[in-house]
Amino acid sequence: MQQITLTLPMIPDMELTASKTAGAMGEHIGMSRDKIDEVQMAVVEACINAFEHSGAREREVQMKLSVFGSDEANPEGLQILIRDSGVGFDPDPTQKLQPMQKRGHGLRIIHGLMDEVHIESDGKGTTVLMKKLR
């Protein structure tokens, strides 16, 4: 299975490192430029959420990138998991944000750019699992 695992310290611009790594993996599986850009933007938002809002004492984020699909030579897409060990939050996607509300748009952006998003959050941390079809 093609997979990359990273431990990202919560320091400025580390979200760009995560984003570039996801972009390289997208290129590797032949994803289109526009889809790679969407994956990269979603990864930036997932990292920013963890960096800014997790309240994690352990100032690092775990990221796992992998391809999915039954045919490894011709994968269906890219799967990205980002996990922090923070205090968690209510990931209810039905909560309404006002269009011009300034904060809290990260998850909305992730949902809007990725094909599948699952979020699990409790007092021990938050895991964001995102999938993008090739």
Partner: protein, 116 residues
């Protein structure tokens, strides 16, 4: 070390100014755009165009600062528009609702036609 955003400003005679961005629009980048935009407003510019041709990535904190600039422009009955966005940045602006309050155009020519 943070990846800094570079800005260049083209001030026109008729109250219009174009801000060209080059790089990542995060919180620092957004604040720098806001500082430049508010300086231009103080100098009497009521129509601003943000050309993002050399920006490939933005984040939600940077966008939230762009929203503050839009609000300021609405307050002074000015106009703000964006042009030359990547498809993903344009999609993100729509997700965040910016498109309801600021014009989004394919290029400078189209944006200037609306702002003129």
């Amino acid at each position: 070390m943070t990846e800094s955003l570079k800005l260049t400003v083209d001030e026109k005679d008729d109250g219009l100014a174009i801000i060209h961005t080059d790089g990542y629009i995060n919180n620092q980048g957004g604040e720098e755009i806001a500082r430049v935009a508010y300086d231009l407003i103080d100098k009497g510019h009521k129509r601003l165009l943000l050309n993002l041709a050399k920006t490939k990535i933005v984040n939600s904190i940077g966008i939230s600062i762009l929203i503050e600039i839009i609000e300021k422009m609405l307050e002074i009955e000015g106009k703000l528009a964006f042009c030359s966005l990547t498809p993903t940045i344009e999609k993100t602006f729509h997700i965040m609702g910016l498109a309801q309050y600021a014009g989004i155009h394919a290029d400078e020519e189209a944006a200037l036609a609306e702002l003129s």
